[in-house]
Assembly symmetry: C2
């Protein structure tokens, strides 16, 4: 414990992945300087890594990547450039993949004993698992927005969680919504969680509430993608801007081949369900989760192109969904695509739920989680709000970084 006259804590950070969320995180770190200074905390960025390149200051003990450079990184990544384009100034050491991963471990080994280090994974890659595991073994902290390492084998999971207080991963479920932090609080106070039901995909939440109004499934899926519903930032724009962005997104779907099946397969929700189930102590893997895909196997990416799926496949699914919606409605219920974890089940798929519950009333792209426990037994604990977007996700990561600093002195 520090003395009453608190000295400034200098916490070194190393960021893996500086696309959308990572880039936003760098901006948050810079703009939070004064807030953190009041709490006697300085976040010292000593490494940034994208899929190709790791940049570190010439001496990780004494020098940091300064705010001007962090903002330069943000600009470059916003334009879609690689970190490699910023590596020629002579101000940094540059390591290329695959050497970069080993170098991160070296830095962790160097800094752990003196100042500690927090490694942040904002990538979407499963390749980081090995590095993160080593970093934890070296007594450093890890903060993750990346779901992959936490949803791989139980062996890797248990290595990562060997010192649970050193790992934080709020933004792997529901972006910055305080889901993991709240569940951890319940578990550490001995509350017994009986059941978690959650709508954890903005896209599927939007789709299920729209088909409830009688719109055809195929049409709703197309507008969900076009609206960029997984990026709530767009909703802020003027109608004209939304129109232009929509046109651009349609263009993107065609050109860059955004595949709506990524969401419709349910696999992203399944990873979140796995993370929640493991938090509750379940020793399971992704394959143990019953996942309902919203398209049949014969319409999968290996047999049908995106264009063909959108044009020929998707409309064939309308009737089936419509019938299910009507059947649910005749029972006074609605359909929601949820993860459902209780003592017997860990499932992901469409469930018929009462209209008159937070999940049943859900409209649009918000995430909702209902947690039933010994303490919340009559009515569940409900956490609801935007569950996607770089800003919110990066804020969740930064809150985790701030929380783990209590472990450093």
């Amino acid at each position: 414990m520090t003395s009453r006259e608190q000295t400034m804590k200098n916490i070194p950070l190393l960021l893996i992945g500086c696309g959308g969320v990572g880039r936003q995180l760098l901006q948050h770190i810079v703009s939070c300087r004064s807030i953190h200074a009041k709490q006697k905390l300085h976040l010292r960025v000593v490494g940034i890594c994208d899929s190709k390149t790791l940049l570190v200051p010439l001496d990780v003990f004494t020098v940091e990547l300064d705010d001007a450079f962090l903002l330069e990184v943000c600009q470059a990544k916003l334009k879609g450039s690689s970190l490699l384009t910023l590596s020629n100034s002579g101000q940094h050491k540059v390591f290329l993949n695959p050497e970069s991963m080993g170098k991160i471990i070296d830095i962790a080994a160097l800094l752990a004993r003196s100042t500690g280090l927090t490694v942040i994974d904002c990538s979407a890659s499963s390749d980081t698992t090995g590095v993160l595991t080593r970093v934890v073994e070296l007594d450093c902290c890890v903060v993750m927005a990346n779901k992959k390492p936490l949803s791989s084998s139980m062996e890797d999971y248990e290595k990562l969680l060997a010192c649970p207080r050193r790992i934080r991963h709020e933004s792997t479920v529901g972006a910055g919504l305080p889901v993991i932090a709240s569940l951890n609080r319940m578990l550490s106070s001995g509350d017994l969680v009986h059941r978690i039901v959650g709508s954890l995909s903005g896209t599927l939440g939007f789709v299920m509430s729209e088909v409830e109004d009688g719109k055809p499934f195929s049409q709703v899926v197309r507008s969900a993608k076009n609206l960029g519903y997984t990026e709530p930032g767009l909703v802020n724009c003027s109608p004209a801007a939304v129109y232009l962005i929509n046109r651009f997104l349609v263009f993107l779907v065609e050109q860059v081949q955004l595949d709506p099946r990524d969401d419709l397969s349910g696999m992203d929700v399944a990873r979140k369900a796995l993370i929640l189930a493991r938090l509750l102590g379940r020793r399971i893997v992704l394959n143990n989760i019953k996942v309902e895909s919203l398209y049949p196997e014969e319409m999968g990416p290996s047999t049908m192109s995106i264009a063909s799926f959108l044009e020929n496949g998707l409309p064939l699914l309308d009737k089936g969904i419509q019938e299910r919606v009507e059947k649910a409605s005749s029972n006074g219920n609605v359909l929601r695509y949820v993860c459902l974890i209780d003592d017997l089940r860990c499932e992901v798929g469409i469930q018929e739920l009462p209209k008159n519950t937070p999940l049943g009333r859900l409209r649009g792209s918000d995430n909702v989680l209902e947690i039933s426990s010994r303490c919340y037994n009559q009515q569940p604990l409900v956490i609801q709000g935007a569950g996607a977007g770089n800003d919110t996700t990066a804020a969740g990561v930064l809150a985790d970084v701030f929380d783990v600093q209590d472990l450093f002195h």
Copy 2:
């Protein structure tokens, strides 16, 4: 930072106030032993204090109050006995009030330098402010369910919060609901909170949703008190048990003089609003908050007995409330008794709110908080669930105790 082979942390705790919440906390501590052991944590109770007596082990460095004794304390407090009745075994040092408060400071001074100490305030007294302030100055941690010290003068507040990470007080607002923890996460990640609206009284939440159905205010207030709605545990019982408990509570209201005006005055909600507003950086005191009382001054406790208020006063308020309910309803709205904090206001009272929002849909005694911020701008972040009850409140306290242990080594 501890080495990879984590050693068991022995965190000494001292509990002030062992009535309802404090007693439940002792039970939780005992029943969470195995959960905490897995996290390499042992909570070592080195002092328990009620309004009259402080009991400590013969040597606070090496001995703790063991689980058998903690459960004995729970039994005694459940029966309404004082700690004084347990002080004759010769196993403990006994200090009587007012000596006890000074002794707590002595213990904090002794333990702070070697092992650290967390002092927990589950009392409902403003007398603890001085002790808690000293304890913080001595580098110990403080966890509070007690609202009073946090809602007194700005000077005391700033002394208490001098090292913000060492003070946790989740259970001062919405019992164990993750309100304070979530707000702190938002603030530390630089999210800008624009507006908080919350129904933070189980009793007033129940009252406002019942009058919405056309029931007379006076009748609803009586049944709220009789149903013991501020103690959601009762809702678990069989109808027969509820009937008996209701009869008992009616008896209690008459005998022990539970005063419904404690809730109706809004002062309890005002303290919670003050705690939230101060968290957002407002330098205000209780008197700066505009508080709407649901009874006029001439029906206050100084001029009207409880019996007379229930029989003669309360029914006179029915018509006014009914008219307001009808007016709101004709606008398509409902009335809720809320705290409202935004850039201009910090108010507590009845607000007309849209039906189709989490607050507008609220039924029964749950608490609901809607937080609007930069990250949650289209739709608010919503946290909803039981906001009262010893079990939930004590769970919130224990989660705080668990969280602050990261500061100790």
